[in-house]
Symmetry: D3
């Protein structure tokens, strides 16, 4: 079966952001496809913002909404998109003032977890 | 009475972002001073992120948290910081997918209100 | 220019729910199209839930998230989908216990506003 | 028809907090009764916290959840319960740091609206 | 000591939804009783909505509010109330568009956890 | 290096609330300092509210915002500030009605965890 053009576009963008071809894993099959086609194929490939900018506002949104699992995934994405660890930490300090202190505490903790995981694999 | 160095730094940054010296207006006097010193003097002047980046993540945070009044203020700030109307609109379309559709609908509506207000003053 | 099949499907579903062909009005043009194609064309037409059920959970989500403008739109949709005023009110009383009392107070107030607007047009 | 004991207890507590016997007004009749009996009759009359303390944590909750209409009602309640204007303002400054800056800005603005309304009636 | 009529009604409704007589376990004793009497006895037994409908909007509310522990409990309830696994999954896909993508990702993950737990006990 | 006066004030207040001199541990160094100086030095030492009152509204805010890790820290703080276990539990029962039932269930569960940890160390 051939994949749709929207799927191909979305999968390419996901590979660029997350470093690997997207795979459904244990995710619901239809939702996986909607994620690739509608979210990454249609939205993340639109021309109005650079990948780095989309990554940055996604991390900001997930931080203040306290979506911890998705935040972890997108902090990895942000690093792949070329946003430095220092900038990610600085974002958390800034956002503590717009989403409340716990948003900063948790954002920095989760960022540290991601950085530590990366470092421990490269030891 | 001389103003603190932190106040001066914060007021300068606010002027850069909002186009005018900050004034308390009807805001609680102490909170006004904390806003100038602690939020703008201490945080918005830190070196880790460019003004444009701080503005962008602030708009993102306010959009997904549905803080409409503050969002309006910071969309004006974003324009002053050099973020284009197109980018602001594009942010709203993107964020609709992380905060839910109403976040996008309202973000675009509020951005349009700000743009229209600016245009009507320049007619 | 011919419209996409996804657009046609979405527009038909929106007409069924809101009683009229969708029009962009003052909405951002691209976001309008994404709303018709991706949200209504792709999601609201999926077979897993009846229209009535989709309408009901949308109203529930908007109520507890306090998205008042969208809630108003979807309460009208719910009535068109065949959900009675009594059921809508009862949903608000129930949801007050899961989203907090103000969620119930505001949900009932907004529902009443919609009902009153409908009644005043039919006088 | 005689009213239930739970209703009487709740109505007395509401009168103490809001300064007047509760009336349904335009509120949904059943929800009004549930509010008097279940919320005020059962909960607000429990012995574990003083009225002042219940009022204070209710204002705190409504402030960080951005429930503006209910917040206005409960700021009036807080004043009736003997919490000073200064304390209410101070709460908003404090809570800005746990719910984000807009929570403080809006909390202080709404408190000022309530104080101004009270003052203008006593002119 | 005899239990109140409201308690009996609530306990019966809880048994219908969760498959077993409610027990306080480690829950705070008073809050357990308020849950049985006020939430299930007074609200969940009201006539305006079918049990299936109450269950569905409760799952919708808990999903978009990201209350993961309670969501797990109420997904089990939804299955007992006769809502199919397919419908529960479909709700999550739909709600991703009103509460943001992470709401869908987490909703589907938690639903899968519940389904897997049920299946592993019946192996 | 000498510490700032604001740091000293904040550290003293943190010691009073949490029972020990603040230490950065694994927390981001700059954010640790901002927490001591700006949050505790500037805000928590302001005269408008007693320590007990600040502690109480902080617990209320964290409870309804579902910030579980920070809530645990501040329940310990509340106990140190002289708020009884009974009052903390009662707050959770009350707040269930303003933030939704899961807010009460989780608040009571987390409070119990803190109480149990304290008791097990004193066994």
């Amino acid at each position: 079966m051939t994949k749709s053009e929207r799927y191909e576009k979305g999968a390419a963008r996901m590979k660029e952001l997350f470093g690997a071809e997207p795979r459904p894993g244990t995710m619901h099959e239809d939702f996986f496809q909607i994620t690739v086609e509608n979210l990454f194929g249609d939205i993340w490939t639109r021309p109005g913002l650079e990948l780095k900018e989309r990554s940055m506002i996604t991390v900001a949104a997930l931080t203040v909404l306290a979506r911890e699992r998705e935040l972890k995934v997108h902090i990895r994405g942000a690093l792949n998109a070329g946003i430095s660890r220092e900038k990610i930490n600085e974002m958390m300090i800034h956002l503590a003032h717009y989403g409340g202190w716990p948003v900063g505490v948790n954002g920095l903790r989760i960022a540290k977890e991601v950085f530590d995981e990366i470092d421990s694999k490269q030891g």
